[in-house]
Symmetry: C2
Subunit: 336 residues, 2 copies
């Protein structure tokens, strides 16, 4: 163990330069040399030290994905999409979770600053627009799933406004008029989705009621809390549009506990299309975010930025298509 390129050179009776050439399969090496180098590599169990290589080459071919929370299969699906594109192109993808904590996120970002990785994809961030804009000048970063208002940084998201607009329309098409929205206060995605929800109601001639809009967070319990809030109203909604599947599932559980049959007495819809949606009884209607497509697109653009060093960077905002999926948790309303 611990053999270096020098050891290989000695073993093969060649110079380190030639060994390096063979290792990097550059042209201008004789078959004879290749053979001897490969034999030496095998014999010594040599593996190139990437610290040396990367230091010299000023790049690592490693990309870091920072997730707000790791206990959410949705994010990992995006990572899978990222990997599927990046690996065949010579990039390793690693991930880390910030627990939505600024302190940890900064710490992860250090891997970018200290050259451990070539680029970072953030599936949500605590950074503000100003900081992101500054960072984007010097480093290759990208946002995915969750944009930041005013950040001129490579961003790939679904059109949240339009997606929730479509979801709300699907409920209206079923006959629902009393549709409530379960949102998370702060996130851009949540705000956009709320806008889409409002626009759908307005365009279809249904008034937007303040008491039908709940603002909590992405934490699980807020689904149940929202449900309880709505049920206390004089005229409770017949459908709940939730800003995430987890919130929808939380609300579904609360509703069932309260004796309602979801998908008959009340309709509840999520967002994301996590795998749990199909595992639940009833299965959960939702808006699909195309994780693989999100991941692939963002990493493709990021790699383009990394390799096009020098020329101007692509800081655009891209959107990928969503899809409303109706399952067992939604149905026409019993009452008007």
């Amino acid at each position: 163990m611990g053999a270096t390129i020098k050891d290989v050179a000695k073993e093969a009776g060649l110079s380190v330069a030639t060994v390096s050439r063979v290792l990097n399969s550059s042209a201008n090496v004789s078959g004879e040399a290749s053979k001897r180098v490969n034999a030496a590599v095998r014999k010594l169990g040599y593996s190139p030290n990437y610290l040396g290589r990367n230091l010299r080459c000023r790049r690592t071919n490693v990309l870091l994905v920072i997730m707000p929370t790791s206990e959410h299969s949705f994010y990992m699906k995006i990572v899978s999409g990222i990997q599927r594109y990046a690996q065949p192109r010579g990039y390793d993808v690693i991930c880390a979770s910030s627990n939505s904590t600024s302190e940890i996120e900064v710490r992860q970002m250090n891997m970018l600053f200290n050259r451990t990785v070539d680029g970072v994809i953030m599936l949500g961030t605590q950074y503000g627009a100003d900081t992101l804009n500054t960072l984007a000048k010097d480093y290759d970063i990208a946002l995915c799933c969750e944009g930041v208002e005013g950040a001129n940084v490579l961003t790939v998201v679904v059109d949240d406004e339009r997606a929730e607009f479509d979801a709300a329309n699907a409920l209206i098409d079923m006959g629902h008029k009393r549709i409530a929205f379960v949102g998370a206060n702060d996130a851009v995605s949540s705000v956009q989705r709320r806008n889409g929800y409002k626009r759908a109601l307005t365009e279809r001639g249904i008034g937007v009621r303040g008491e039908y809009i709940y603002s909590g967070s992405f934490e699980y319990e807020h689904g149940a809390l929202a449900f309880e809030h709505f049920m206390k109203l004089e005229e409770p909604p017949t459908a709940l549009l939730c800003v995430s599947d987890l919130l929808a599932i939380s609300a579904i559980n609360a509703a069932e506990k309260a004796g309602l049959k979801v998908g008959r007495d009340i309709s509840i819809m999520g967002f994301d299309n996590i795998s749990m949606c199909e595992m639940m009884i009833p299965s959960v209607s939702t808006v699909e975010q195309p994780c693989a497509a999100l991941g692939e697109l963002v990493v493709r653009k990021l790699i383009a930025n990394i390799t096009s060093s020098g020329s101007v960077k692509d800081n655009s905002r891209y959107t990928v298509g969503h899809k409303v999926i109706l399952r067992g948790s939604t149905a026409p309303p019993l009452t008007d």
Copy 2:
């Protein structure tokens, strides 16, 4: 961007050696020097290049966790436990997913061979015992959750045999006699759990029936397949003991679809205690694997191995405590 230690030295009017000393807060630096270095660092926006540092120091203080699949919150919980211990001790934790593919796993392991990371924790592996034993000689590796028969490698797991023994006994205590086992063919953990299941039945004077043992894989659909298999029997079981929560949930869905009420007509129990267990209706009885404890212990021992370079390595197998958790998906049997 891209300032080096040299630039800082020049800016501060000191040598690179002194700058390095300040940066690493070593003794023997005057307050004056510190002040000037820090000012220069701030002014230049300097961040040390870890490739240089790590190359020189021959370590990276980065640990890699390889998961068989990333779309499984259970693994990420362990990663959280690992992080919680490692970060305050100066180690960064990154993770990658092998999709249970040998090829990808080898590729991830390259980060160990090429010195990108100091150690690897595998939450399941495709490697055989021999390979692992060889690797463990030269590198710092550890297994967590899923051991490998015959591998003398640092391993931290729950006592699977005993855990499933306890789970089976819990069902027997409820009055069940016709208890079936839903296992995954290959994995050591599954085999151990089957042994525990058998021992419980035997010790309580209940015969082990071959047709009550299903061998599939950890893939979701096998829960449903197992359920269907058992229901075709002349004397179907009254309880299913599944080797994972996901399999249990799959079986629960199949049972409900077949018109059974789980937690009354049939009892179904999982393993792991993933967060979904509490979100399901009915909530899922299971055996808790203490993820945080697993992660903390394995990384503690691994770091000890890494830092005790030279002296002999700890290749022991440690177990951490499990806990049977009874919820809505299990109940006394209706019939004998």
